[in-house]
């Protein structure tokens, strides 16, 4: 190994990761990447090129952490060493840090294959630098931080990136997302697709939080034969005949089992693979189908895919179950309006009656303008009998949102500040029962701190 600069950069990155952990400052997930990058700014390119089985990049607004974790689990169970930015640190620095940590000082990767979860905006740079063999695109949703058309510019930059690929590379898209189907159409890379071939759970119309679906070929409105989630579905254009691409991996026999699990069958005939996922909601079945399709494309055995998905536990912050004072708490992160809608829809479909506390903060990472709450279909909660509490910096706004969704005020309790609200909420739950907490991002961080102080959850970098 004659690359002195690379060796120095790796060593420095490893040292800084170690010293951060000794200091006990959470995570230490991105700083080593900054240190390594400063010493050798090609480090990611060089390390990625040395991974014998190549790199798999996973991107999308929702589900990229869960999907890439399921995928890494399948690959590991198949006997491969996997380099993976497991902490969910998905910008260039965090990804560089993950590579630095998972190679020897001389630059030999500790794994045979890399699974890279990447942020939407970082995708072009990550693809350029790691030259992935496979790019998995899950979905593109508008989120509350994006009021002025950022989504359009991300779609454009993805399209440009996909058009620079070569035929040795593969793109696997969720074909139910018309945007992904359109932007991958002209790429020289091989294109594969997954999606829902048949699904009994449908929406009557596009939810308010979804962008209206426009045919990217001719500009007419797309017509949905079936609509499953936000703008995901089976669609066609009446004007120019454009339609959802044929599915290489079509999911059928989709069943949801409340807030615990779901199942689906991927593919047909001899190839069909039945998957029991221990994750709730249609959005997680998309993640499971995406991870399974990716693993099958990479040649992993079906039985390993089945067992890994069946036993998978949700990634940090997505869905988490904790015990506190003999009550079961289920924590579900609210990331954006579409994610929030799907959580509420899943709660409503399962007809659950357990108490729910929604925690809304308005710090930078949550979205400083809480207007987005009005584009969430809180009306779903009017269909269930559960008592509803609100908390966080914008507890009052959420309470008002619930009221205007048609929920009687007698069922709504605004608890305010999260620190005191948590105690009050837990006490309001009968012993032995289950309750749900739905926090925005910074509220989840605070919630975990509070629970950690009471000794009920491990901090995320330890898991």
């Amino acid at each position: 190994m004659g690359d002195f600069r690379l060796g120095l950069a790796i060593a420095a990155g490893k040292m800084s990761a170690l010293s951060i952990r000794r200091l006990g400052r959470g995570g230490g997930t991105a700083l080593p990447g900054v240190v390594s990058n400063a010493l050798d700014h090609d480090i990611l390119d060089k390390l990625a090129a040395r991974v014998p089985g190549g790199c798999v990049v996973v991107a999308g607004t929702n589900g990229k952490t869960t999907t890439s974790r399921i995928l890494a689990e399948i690959l590991e169970r198949s006997g491969l060493g996997v380099i993976h930015n497991r902490s969910g640190s998905n910008l260039v620095r965090g990804i560089t840090a993950a590579f630095t940590e998972q190679v020897s000082l001389s630059g030999v990767p500790s794994g045979q294959i890399a699974v890279i979860e990447t942020d939407e905006a970082a995708l072009p740079e990550i693809v350029r630098r790691t030259k992935p063999r496979l790019i998995v695109l899950l979905n593109l949703f508008r989120d509350q931080l994006d009021r002025y058309g950022e989504l359009d510019s991300i779609a454009r930059s993805w399209k440009e990136t996909l058009n620079t690929l070569d035929p040795s590379q593969t793109i696997l898209i969720n074909a139910d997302d018309p945007t992904l189907a359109a932007i991958s159409e002209d790429s020289p890379a091989q294109r594969l697709s997954f999606g829902f071939a048949e699904c009994q759970y449908t929406l009557d119309h596009l939810p308010h939080a979804a962008d209206s679906a426009i045919c990217r070929r001719c500009g007419a409105s797309l017509v949905y034969d079936e609509l499953y989630l936000s703008h995901l579905g089976d669609y066609h254009c009446e004007q120019c005949g454009y339609q959802r691409p044929a599915l290489d991996y079509g999911a059928r026999e989709i069943q949801l089992h409340g807030l615990d699990s779901g199942e689906l069958t991927l593919g047909t005939g001899d190839e069909a693979l039945h998957l029991d996922a221990s994750l709730p909601g249609l959005y997680n079945l998309y993640n499971a189908a995406g991870a399974a399709a990716t693993a099958l494309t990479l040649g992993m055995p079906g039985w390993v895919v089945q067992s890994a998905i069946g036993e998978f536990k949700a990634a940090f912050g997505r869905i988490e179950r904790v015990e506190i004072d003999n009550r079961h708490l289920v924590l579900v992160l609210i990331k954006n309006p579409t994610g929030f809608n799907e959580v509420l829809r899943t709660l409503a479909m399962s007809e659950m009656v357990d108490p729910v506390m929604i925690v809304i903060n308005d710090l930078d990472a949550d979205g400083r303008d809480v207007s987005w709450l009005w584009d969430v279909d809180a009306e779903h909660l009017a269909e269930v009998e559960a008592p509803l509490s609100t908390a966080g910096i914008r507890s009052g706004d959420m309470a008002v949102r619930l009221k205007y969704a048609g929920i009687p005020e007698s069922r709504i309790t605004p608890l305010g500040d999260l620190d005191t609200a948590l105690e009050q909420f837990v006490e309001s739950v009968p012993e032995g029962r289950t309750a749900f907490i739905l926090p925005t991002y910074t509220a989840m961080l605070r919630l975990r701190e509070l629970l950690h102080k009471r000794g009920v959850v491990e901090m995320f970098w330890e898991t």
Partner: protein
């Protein structure tokens, strides 16, 4: 009794939270036993002012304002303006507010004519005003919202502001004014959404509509405990964040 709420250009001018204003109007009518119907009116569709009790006009991106601006030139704009002159209630936020004035001048592009109902005009500014806002209004008391605009609006001599900016930047960051009121129409830059947290404005619009259609002078009061909590919380938040 029934009120029809018309969401102008609801298919294209509907940035986050605009739905909250329409929902607030409909729900506060329904809670008083009044039926509420929500309709939308898009580009190229004819406006029948007799079929509308309350208008809502929301915000959009600059490029979405161009077809809307040309749509309100001629007959449709004249009809809308006359309807407002006759006392039809309206809430207009952001882009809709700008087009109630004489014109909006986007950066480096042609001027977009409005309907000239407000004695006000707007132009693109160099800076984006983003953050929590508190306004003191003589008509409505304190108002809370979230501003997010780079357009600057200036009121002419005959225009009445919605209120004085207590916290935030307001119409243009210079004269301490926010929004505009004329007849029963309110225009402003306040998102959040505005009406759910400021029920005094919602009830003013509903009252004006009931008076016009049914000659009803008084509005049945509602319990606003949650709205009061959210309003106070928004004021505290503005004090801390700006």
């Amino acid at each position: 009794m029934k009120l029809t709420i018309c969401w102008l250009y609801g298919d294209t001018m509907n940035i986050y939270g605009d739905r909250g204003n329409v929902l607030a109007l409909a729900q506060r009518a329904r809670w008083r036993g009044i039926e509420a119907e929500i309709t939308t009116l898009g580009v190229g569709q004819e406006l029948d002012p007799d079929a509308v009790d309350i208008y809502f006009w929301g915000g959009g991106q600059d490029r979405e304002q161009i077809p809307v601006s040309s749509d309100i030139q001629g007959e449709k704009g004249t009809v809308l303006r006359q309807s407002l002159e006759d006392g039809a209630p309206m809430l207009a936020v952001c882009g809709g507010y700008q087009l109630l004035g004489t014109h909006y001048h986007p950066y480096g592009e042609a001027q977009l004519p409005g309907i000239g109902f407000f004695d006000a005009w707007s132009e693109a500014g160099p800076e984006r005003f983003i953050g929590n806002v508190v306004v003191d209004s003589d008509r409505f008391g304190s108002l809370v919202g979230f501003e997010n605009h780079s357009g600057l609006t200036y009121l002419g001599p005959s225009a009445e502001a919605l209120g004085r900016v207590r916290i935030g930047r307001g119409n243009n960051g210079q004269d301490g004014k926010e929004g505009c009121v004329h007849k029963n129409a309110v225009g402003c830059y306040l998102h959040g959404a505005l009406l759910p947290k400021n029920p005094a404005v919602t009830d003013f619009l509903i009252q004006a509509a009931l008076q016009r259609r049914y000659d009803i002078q008084e509005l049945e009061p509602l319990a606003d405990d949650l709205e009061v909590i959210a309003h106070a919380e928004a004021i505290r938040r503005a004090e801390i964040t700006r």
